[in-house]
């Protein structure tokens, strides 16, 4: 069971400069960004699959989730996804499953 204060922190909206910015390769910004876990879940479904591959294998997702959202559990799950080496739509589906499940769980605990 996570403390309500931690859940509230993980689900908060972060300032613009701390948002996650989706790139497809070095220096190529798609124009999509996420400033909260809720937005992140939505963007995982929408952004170019190339962007998901670029960030997953650089470790950017786990770093942002760990250091900015401060959700170590979710960061660990994303990290372990790398070992399966998914790409394209398989990566999108698996990542979406992980982050949406986590979001729903936290949201549920926060509301109850």
């Amino acid at each position: 069971m996570i403390a309500i204060s931690s859940i509230s922190r993980i689900l908060r909206k972060v300032p613009r400069e701390n948002a996650f910015y989706f790139f497809t390769s070095i220096g190529n910004y798609t124009g999509e960004n996420a400033a909260s876990l809720e937005e992140f879940v939505r963007k995982v479904k929408e952004v170019d699959a190339k962007s998901l591959e670029f960030h997953l294998y650089r470790g950017d997702f786990e770093k942002w989730v760990d250091e900015t959202l401060e959700d170590k559990e979710l960061a660990e799950k994303i990290r372990s996804l790398k070992s399966l080496s998914p790409t394209g739509s398989s990566l999108r589906n698996q990542l979406y499953l992980i982050v949406s499940k986590r979001y729903k769980k936290l949201k549920g605990e926060f509301s109850s």
Binding site: Y21, F23, I26, G27, Y29
Partner: protein, 182 residues
């Protein structure tokens, strides 16, 4: 009487003619600019000898051009490879919301990683900037943390330069000399 003459001389030195807000250079100014663009380390005497005029005349013309912002600075071009400094250079195109482009361009200009910033109207309104960083990861971090979050930035395209075939500054006197008619 002597004082009046000196004052008139000073006024002549301090003022340059302007046309449509552009400073008008005379023939000698153009020649001096050309000589300085080739080698800015030359002394007034050397330039004077080269152009067949007194070094004091060269001094006056250069002072005048510096004062009016025609000559903005003298700088050293360092070959980073020669001194073992590894770096990556990239051309970054930043597509912006037109209302905020000016502000984005100003913010980019303030970054030490950005060497040049220009505005382009060729396609959508965009800003073209030359960026330098230690390596590709640092280049990406700079763009992700300092450029993408700027208000008004819509998307960014970046091309990393892998080989340079020519790197010259625009030489006005040789290419676009537009001397005033006499």
């Amino acid at each position: 009487m002597q004082k009046t003459v000196n004052l008139l001389f000073l006024l002549q030195v301090r003022n340059m003619k302007t046309k449509n807000q552009a400073v008008v250079l005379d023939t000698l100014d153009w020649k001096i600019v050309q000589v300085l663009q080739e080698n800015a380390k030359q002394t007034y005497t050397e330039i004077g000898r080269l152009l067949g005029v007194a070094h004091s005349t060269i001094y006056d013309h250069i002072q005048k051009m510096e004062k009016h912002g025609v000559i903005t600075k003298y700088t050293a071009v360092v070959d980073l490879e020669k001194i073992g400094i590894k770096h990556v250079t990239a051309i970054m195109t930043v597509f912006t919301n037109p209302k905020e482009s000016e502000q984005v361009a100003k913010r980019l200009s303030e970054s030490k990683e950005v060497l040049e910033v220009s505005m382009s109207l060729s396609e959508d309104l965009s800003i073209i900037a030359k960026v330098v960083a230690e390596d590709q990861n640092k280049l990406h971090s700079f763009i992700a943390q300092s450029v993408a979050p700027l208000p008004g930035v819509l998307r960014i395209r970046t091309s990393i330069i892998t080989r340079k075939y020519k790197d010259e500054r625009f030489s006005i006197a040789e290419n676009w000399k537009t001397e005033p008619k006499r």
